[in-house]
């Protein structure tokens, strides 16, 4: 018993010593006090040179952390263990975070560069007046296809996917909103439609697509398309531009019936300690030259109008990734449909996946 007590005390002393040591180390590395900023972003979603540049200009040390899904990010912010100062959620997550009171209102007077953002991308339904968020990158949902494997096919309409020549060639993304949205759009309905009859109509139409579907996968679709395992895939435009760099036979198109328009946005979550620094960082990222450099590196579409001047001509005029206003007018942002409707979407999607043989 005595030995146990001794051992226990020894462990306690060691723990306290370690705690002190960690504190000292953090302090010497600048990980405390007012001069640090914790940024929480998607993986590989910033040009890291810009972080150095920001640190040099402001003297603020950035702690950079990454996440791979909106849900994971939101859970971490809810738990509140880390003091995230800036995060980059997608639009539907911003609505959820707003509802759960997880966001800090932005002070527009500290964001003079906000003027650089294209009018089209301001004041959107998920955040009227940009009270909480500033767009970081945007894009569409569309079809990436292999020109060499499908020499005489075009994807101007969603219905082109139902072509019998595409038997066992299509990869879908494992997301209820994306797949059902495609079904709804192809029928001429809105992808935010919650009418149950319309959803069932979309389900029936999608079930007709079954023979053409090779697999319903996640991020692996990038790898599979680049390796020419399949000829067509439903993807986000950002992923499309990424794999088009890897395999030049690939091309991307947004069907004309309409599709989804998505945004990733910078916000200041409730966990923030350095709110001033967070504004400085957001304003820095909105700078025209900085945004241009970032967009060139990440290769997603930037909402920063002023940045377009600093970017290579062929990138900015590429209609596939910077579609004309006529097309963007037809695109819709996912609205937060509420838990019940989302559950209904998922039930239908599950049914679609279940009866797929």
């Amino acid at each position: 018993m005595k030995k146990l007590t001794q051992a226990f005390i020894a462990v306690l002393i060691v723990s306290v010593l370690l705690l002190i040591a960690i504190n000292r180390l953090n302090a010497s590395a600048g990980y405390s006090g007012n001069n640090t900023l914790t940024v929480f972003n998607w993986g590989d979603y910033i040009d890291e040179e810009l972080i150095d540049q920001f640190e040099e200009e402001t003297g603020i040390t950035i702690i950079y952390e990454t996440f791979d899904s909106n849900e994971a990010m939101m859970t971490k912010i809810k738990q509140g263990g880390t003091t995230y100062d800036v995060a980059v959620p997608s639009e539907y997550t911003i609505e959820k975070m707003r509802e759960e009171d997880l966001l800090v209102e932005l002070d527009h007077s500290k964001l003079p560069n906000l003027n650089n953002i294209d009018e089209r991308f301001m004041d959107l339904s998920f955040d009227p007046g940009n009270k909480y968020s500033v767009p970081y990158f945007w894009g569409t949902v569309g079809v990436v296809y292999n020109k060499e494997m499908l020499p005489d096919m075009e994807f101007t309409s969603w219905d082109d996917l139902w072509d019998p020549r595409l038997k066992n060639e299509i990869l879908l993304v494992d997301g209820a909103r994306e797949v059902l949205g495609m079904g709804l759009n192809s029928l001429g309905y809105s992808l935010n439609d919650t009418n149950k009859d319309h959803l069932h109509e979309a389900l029936e139409k999608l079930q007709g697509l079954t023979p053409n579907i090779k697999a319903i996968v996640g991020d692996e679709n990038k790898l599979l398309m680049a390796n020419e395992e399949a000829a067509v895939a439903l993807v986000w435009s950002g992923d499309a531009s990424e794999i088009m760099w890897e395999n030049e036979n690939l091309d991307y198109s947004v069907p004309e019936e309409g599709s989804n328009l998505w945004f990733d946005n910078m916000v200041i979550p409730k966990t923030a300690r350095n709110i001033d620094g967070a504004h400085q960082f957001i304003n820095f990222m909105l700078d025209a030259e900085v945004a241009a450099q970032n967009a060139e590196y990440v290769s997603y579409s930037t909402p920063n109008k002023a940045a377009l001047e600093y970017m290579p001509e062929e990138m900015v005029t590429d209609e596939r990734f910077y579609p004309s206003p006529e097309l963007t007018d037809k695109l819709e942002v996912y609205e937060n449909l509420g838990k019940e409707n989302l559950a209904y979407y998922n039930d239908i999607f599950l049914e679609f996946k279940m009866y797929r043989k």
Binding site: A176, V217, E228, K339, L342, E351
Partner: protein, 269 residues
């Protein structure tokens, strides 16, 4: 004496706390959540939903695939374990079989995407022997193959231990009494290793029932198991109630299988 008892009870505390926190509390939480519908009210809606064709079919197909995976694992693992006990350096061979299970499952799954792909090693081989390129990825075959590959070490270990601990005297006795090799195996070796087989079935069948990563990576969602649905309900829909309800049925299935397999053991002993 009293002091001794106190110390013993003291030693029990960590185990009791562990079981309470990580076994009993989670199960109670799962059961609690299964009665909460999506609006956050107490109801039986989730259970009603479970008994609709979509979920019943999913349950059936989960059981079917778990059964196939367990069966093939056993068919491969038993002879392997048997032969292993006959080798010279059996511990070394055993180690070699176990080592792959230290590699991350996700990595192995990605490796199989490469191997089974249209331009992968498996198809190059089929091309060489004249069968020609087949679609291997995203089929039932590849799903069961990869699952079996992943579970085999867990099946081999208990069976190996059971065979290895058989007293050789019993085998000599059987031979002396005129039993053929086959008779010895059927009447002596196999009954004595039943416990190992049962442990192996328990270790493989229950996780196989709720496999979810492979259903997407290898089967391209052509196989939908209860695990897939749980993942979707917790991560995407955030309908924790429905996810918990499915989990309740998995827990029931787990107890049933434990009960069935250990029930036989008593009769055998």
């Amino acid at each position: 004496m009293n002091n001794h008892k106190l110390t013993r009870n003291l030693y029990m505390v960590p185990y009791a706390v562990w079981i309470l926190l990580f076994v009993i509390a989670p199960i109670l939480l799962v059961i609690y959540y299964s009665f909460i519908d999506i609006q956050g009210n107490f109801s039986f809606a989730n259970y009603e939903k479970f008994f609709t064709p979509v979920y019943l079919k999913m349950t059936l197909s989960s059981f079917w695939y778990a059964f196939l995976i367990t069966l093939f694992s056993l068919l491969v693992a038993y002879p392997t374990a048997y032969l292993l006990t006959k080798t010279k350096h059996k511990q070394l061979w055993l180690l070699l079989i176990i080592v792959p299970s230290w590699i991350n499952l996700l990595l192995k799954a990605y490796a199989f995407i490469g191997i089974f792909g249209t331009y992968g090693v498996a198809n190059s081989f089929l091309e060489v022997i004249g069968i020609g390129t087949q679609q291997l990825l995203f089929t039932d075959f590849s799903f069961i193959f990869v699952s079996v590959y992943i579970f085999i070490p867990f099946m081999i270990l208990p069976i190996f231990n059971a065979i290895d601990t058989i007293n050789p005297v019993l085998l000599d006795a059987a031979r002396d009494l005129g039993a053929s090799k086959w008779d010895t195996f059927r009447r002596v070796v196999f009954p004595l290793t039943m416990n190992g087989v049962k442990s192996g079935i328990q270790i493989v069948f229950i996780p196989a029932l709720s496999l979810f990563m492979l259903t997407r990576l290898i089967a391209g969602n052509r196989v939908i198991t209860l695990g897939t649905a749980i993942e979707q309900h917790f991560l995407v829909t955030q309908d924790w109630g429905m996810g918990a309800t499915i989990a309740v049925f998995l827990i029931i299935a787990m107890f049933l299988i434990m009960f069935l397999t250990s029930g036989f053991r008593k009769r055998g002993a």
